[in-house]
């Protein structure tokens, strides 16, 4: 089979990276032959349903597949039911309240493992039933590959990495090469709730909690995923804490944050709280922060985070599609 592989490398290979948003999807295709790029383009399509791809998407992908026999379709998994566990042991999954039997687990470098709900994976396969699907990559995997490219890896430094996408943020906290904590948070929400959210912040933490509950996909059969519920509880209680302690400063900053940015900030805070307060995680003081930004974080958010964490924040611009394509090429050993 080595011969086939060698021949396949010489032939034209095509990678189609897809990211699915609430009502649209973005597709980037890269066609290579040996080391030459024959085609590279990005397109956005409307999605009318979250269960099936729209006709123009299917047509576009099929046309591309017809031209090149060796086409790999890559999906960015941004569903709720996924995360990381700081170990690869099955027994630890129980400790972190995750039903091992209902997730697909991938061990990374024998140090930690990323998981995703089987339901989400099935959803993804069903979504691509008309075109076929080759790779489903976890956002943690992307973040991990970005982190690996960092030159310095201090043994003692506790670094927080965040990858920011259109609809989600991925957080991973490393101490040297060891993962301490990670979370994936979907921050998409309906627009008309924005204003009410904003208002209710001051007075009613409950409605915030309710809205968050609504957001969360209740299809989750991971009943043990109390993480998010914990976050909710914390948010509720901390809201008041926040307001009382940093009222003056925050008011200024917060008042400048809108919609998604605000949500980002809120969820980030919650996630951080979870890290510090949950005994399951080895919490330590964060000494460095790095953000991989794929959709232009506003200055205000960065300001806020700076003030929250009292650390300087480094920021890199990335493109998720490019990262997906890179990963896919690594997996198929093409253009290595």
């Amino acid at each position: 089979m080595g011969l086939f592989k060698a021949i396949k490398k010489r032939m034209t290979n095509q990678f189609i990276a897809v990211i699915v948003y609430e009502e649209s999807c973005a597709i980037k295709v890269k066609r290579v032959k040996k080391t030459q790029t024959l085609l590279e383009e990005t397109k956005e399509f409307e999605l009318h349903s979250k269960e099936r791809l729209s006709k123009d998407v299917i047509t576009y992908i099929q046309t591309l597949q017809e031209d090149v026999e060796q086409t790999y379709i890559v999906l960015f998994l941004n569903s709720y039911g996924q995360g990381v566990v700081p170990s690869c042991l099955k027994s630890d999954y129980k400790k972190y309240h995750i039903d091992y039997n209902n997730v697909k687990e991938i061990c990374i470098d024998k140090k930690y493992s990323i998981y995703a709900s089987l339901i989400d994976i099935k959803w993804a396969e069903k979504l691509f039933i008309d075109t076929g699907l080759d790779f489903i990559f976890s956002p943690f995997l992307i973040l991990d590959s970005l982190i690996k490219r960092e030159t310095s890896q201090d043994k003692e430094n506790v670094t927080l990495y965040m990858m920011n996408c259109v609809n989600s943020i991925t957080v991973m906290i490393f101490k040297g090469g060891r993962l301490l904590y990670g979370a994936f948070i979907n921050i998409a929400k309906e627009e008309d709730l924005l204003s009410s959210d904003f208002e209710s912040e001051d007075t009613d933490g409950d409605s915030l909690e309710d809205e968050m509950l609504e957001e969360i996909d209740l299809d989750l059969e991971m009943e043990e995923n109390t993480e998010i519920l914990d976050i909710l509880d914390d948010v509720q209680s901390d809201e008041k804490q926040f307001q009382s302690t940093h009222k003056d400063e925050n008011e200024e900053v917060v008042s400048r944050l809108f919609g998604q940015d605000l949500r980002l900030v809120k969820y980030f805070d919650a996630s951080l709280r979870e890290f510090y307060e949950n005994e399951l995680y080895d919490s330590d003081f964060i000494t460095a922060v790095k953000i991989y930004d794929s959709c232009d974080l506003s200055k205000e958010v960065i300001e806020y985070l700076k003030e929250q964490l009292l650390i300087d924040i480094k920021r890199d611009s990335i493109d998720i599609h490019d990262q997906l394509l890179k990963l896919a090429m690594q997996e198929t050993d093409i253009n290595a």
Binding site: F4, K8, E69, D134, F135, I136, F137, L141, E331
Partner: protein, 171 residues
């Protein structure tokens, strides 16, 4: 494998190429097989041909031998018959000759050739020869010449040379 799902199996060739390639290969194999079969059949004939040719050469030699033998016997028969005939002719000629000679004539020498006869002898008189011997000689032989010479005691010596032209028998 760092993806949550395994990638689909990829074909090396698209459908059309694969079909064409297998079609071409099939036809090639078919032609090769056909060629091989024909070649095999040819070599079969070649082998048979070899033994046949040897056999035929042998038989041909035998036929030549046999015909030689037949010819030999035929020639033997011919010689035998010829020998018998010539001996008979000689015998009969001899007899006829001496029957021919009258008492008056005495022969001293006879040289009998196939087509000629030389008689030497003597008689009382020339007339005895010319009347008694010459006519029959002339009737048998195409040419009859005679030479006379006188002998001591009034006898006439003659030398008669007779030739006969063999008739050409048209077949």
């Amino acid at each position: 494998m760092r993806s949550f799902i395994k990638p689909r199996k990829k074909r090396l060739l698209d459908r059309m190429s694969a079909l064409w390639l297998s079609f071409i290969i099939l036809v090639s194999i078919g032609l090769i097989v056909f060629g091989v079969i024909i070649h095999y059949k040819s070599s079969f004939y070649i082998k048979m041909l070899d033994s046949l040719q040897h056999q035929n050469a042998t038989t041909s030699k035998e036929v030549t031998n046999l015909s030689k033998k037949v010819m030999l016997i035929n020639s033997q028969k011919k010689i035998y018959d010829e020998v018998e005939k010539t001996n008979d002719v000689l015998k009969v000629s001899m007899k006829n000759l001496f029957d021919l000679i009258p008492d008056q004539i005495t022969l001293t020498s006879v040289v009998m050739e196939r087509n000629s006869l030389l008689l030497k002898g003597y008689s009382i008189s020339k007339e005895a020869y010319t009347l008694l011997l010459q006519p029959p000689l002339k009737s048998i032989f195409t040419k009859s010449e005679v030479k006379f010479s006188k002998m001591k005691d009034a006898k006439v010596e003659f030398e008669s040379f007779n030739t006969i032209q063999p008739q050409k028998v048209e077949k």
